[in-house]
């Protein structure tokens, strides 16, 4: 277990290093792009440009610049945004993280429960009218883009029906969990549902297929021959074995979302999370912030993968000694 954790940690560091170099190179070594010109603003005169170059260390050799940036980012933690002078990268990320975590964890709980219930129900109702109906709901969910669905939800809850049915819905924004748990949940409710709807359908579909396959397996026949109830056969045998591939998919999705892939939902609902931070930084080509958020995202993706591997071994004894 310890060696597994160490190996994972080592590979995480390696991945993060490679990504940071890549981001750095894309930013500084892309032909025709002069970061100094971006920082100095449009139509800056050569003297200003030179001054900017010097003050941001852009006149030093590339490897030195990389190391300096990493030192400021990770060791001194005083790396500043190029665009918003004086705002530091690390505190920005620290501030955005709970927002994204609130959104993603809540949505993940909803879509996992909904996906498992829908998928299992569809599998057991195979051949009946309810099965294609459930799957249709799933496809619709998958097909709706977050920016559209989110806007529609906003339109309905904030405008059209705000005076009647949805008068209890607060305006878009974020309230910290520590500040007011009730308001926090109220603010997060529709973002959760929106994000969850996008994923529940995929999970339901995948799980349905797995459960249908499992129900045809020999071990289910054995379980039946043992005299177990259908409910026990479904839950303890078929569903239990079907969850294994779902878990690995979940790990990847969860890692990516925490890493910033919930961007569209965050933007639509005005949540100042990691996705929003990354998005703004990319629009302004604000390298320090991009660097910080990308490393943060890489960290979560690798972490989620490691957790999946551990969970996988717990769920599937065959994976333990491999």
């Amino acid at each position: 277990m310890l060696s597994f954790a160490l190996k994972r940690f080592g590979s995480a560091l390696l991945v993060m290093f490679a990504i940071s170099v890549l981001v750095f190179l894309i930013f500084f070594a892309t032909p025709g792009v002069d970061p100094a010109a971006r920082i100095a603003g449009r139509n800056a005169d050569p003297a200003t440009l030179a001054q900017v170059r010097h003050s941001f260390g852009l006149d030093r050799p590339m490897p030195v610049r990389y190391l300096l940036m990493m030192r400021h980012l990770l060791v001194d933690r005083d790396l500043e945004s190029f665009v918003n002078r004086g705002s530091r990268v690390i505190p920005q990320i620290v501030q955005a993280t709970p927002v994204t975590l609130s959104l993603v964890i809540g949505a993940a709980l909803i879509w996992m429960v909904a996906g498992i219930v829908m998928g299992t129900a569809a599998a057991t109702l195979r051949g009946k009218a309810a099965d294609p109906l459930i799957m249709l709901v799933g496809v619709v969910g998958v097909s709706l883009p977050a920016y559209w669905l989110g806007e529609v939800v906003n339109l309905i809850t904030q405008k059209q029906l705000h005076s009647s049915v949805f008068s209890w819905v607060p305006p878009p924004g974020y309230v910290g969990l520590g500040q007011d748990p009730g308001q926090w949940a109220l603010h997060m409710l529709f973002p959760w549902l929106t994000l969850a709807l996008l994923y529940a359908g995929i999970y339901a579909r995948l799980l349905r297929g797995e459960v249908v396959t499992a129900l045809g397996e020999d071990y289910v026949r054995t379980a039946r021959a043992k005299g177990l109830s259908e409910r026990r056969i479904l839950i303890r045998h078929a569903l239990r074995c079907s969850l294994i591939p779902i878990v690995s998919l979940f790990g990847l999705d969860f890692g990516a979302l925490v890493g910033g892939a919930a961007l569209l939902t965050e933007v639509v609902f005005g949540l100042p999370g990691i996705g929003k931070l990354t998005f703004d930084a990319l629009q302004n080509l604000d390298l320090p912030v991009i660097m910080g958020t990308v490393l943060y995202a890489a960290f979560f993706v690798v972490l989620a993968n490691a957790l999946v591997d551990i969970l996988y071994a717990r769920l599937d004894p065959r994976a333990r000694h491999a």
Partner: protein, 342 residues
Amino acid sequence: MPDQPLLDVRDLRVSFRTRQGSVTVVDGLSLSVAPGDILGVVGESGSGKSVSMLAVLRLLTNPNVTVSGQVLFRGRDLLSLPDKEMRAIRGREIAMVFQDPMTALTPVYTVGWQIAEQIRAHEPVSRKEANARAVRLLSDVGIPDAASRVNAYPHEFSGGMRQRAVIAMALSCDPSLLIADEPTTALDVTVQAQILDLMRELNTRGSAVVLITHDMGVISQIADRVLVMYGGRAAEEGPRRAVFHGPRHPYTWGLLDSVPRVGGPRLRRLPTIAGMPVAPGSLPEGCAFAPRCRLRHARCEELPVLSAGNADAAHRDACWLPPDQRAALRLTTRTADSEVAS
């Protein structure tokens, strides 16, 4: 109570609805098993032996299957029993062991857990007690160091060990009938012999056994009675001795002749039954074996019924050939066959 059979199957029919129409896989099968008996069911692939036994336990869950007839177990018709009562019989009164031990156990639970699960499904015992019984059962079926192997997962067992574990599970509630569907087919020969010993030992403890196989050798070692199936119907049925020493049905002759004999005459080529097994979708109106039979005659267009010849009421067959000329006819076909072969 030798007159009341433990299991009495009457006119069992199983058909599958397919795109090509309804296909009858088991066609009017009747059989009975006395308490403590070992019935060997033989036949080639597709003869309906497994399907009929799955039908007995109502394990054919495919919605396109229709089962009719009667399956009387201790006088109760299993086919019309409510699901809950059927569940109480499965695993407790009638246990089943399947062909492929590699896939018969749920991969994510330990072997002991799965045995204990069955015990606890039928008896109000504590987890601890069920586990202790699982250990005992595993050591009964010859798993060494059962106390620690009980916590092993199926993938940590070899094929033979898994089959033993499945058998241990089947025995966990002391069933009065064990249905074993080709329990040795997936195993190598030495393990096969051990599993057969295990079945025999179980039988001496009082369980009746239905052993499905396509291996005449296995049947000759263990069965009290033999049922030969062809095309979803019974071709011949009788005590083991009678069937092996005086087989009546031409299909049984073919099966017995195609077993190589160690001390027998040296043959250039092992005799086989000419032609292909009948496909369940295209069963002839009359005798199912007629298209492959050398002694086919006009009457074979009619469906033969299972009937005793003149001598032994317990030995019955479904063939139109005159009962008293069978032995002579068998010799003629055998000579004819060896001439063709050489």
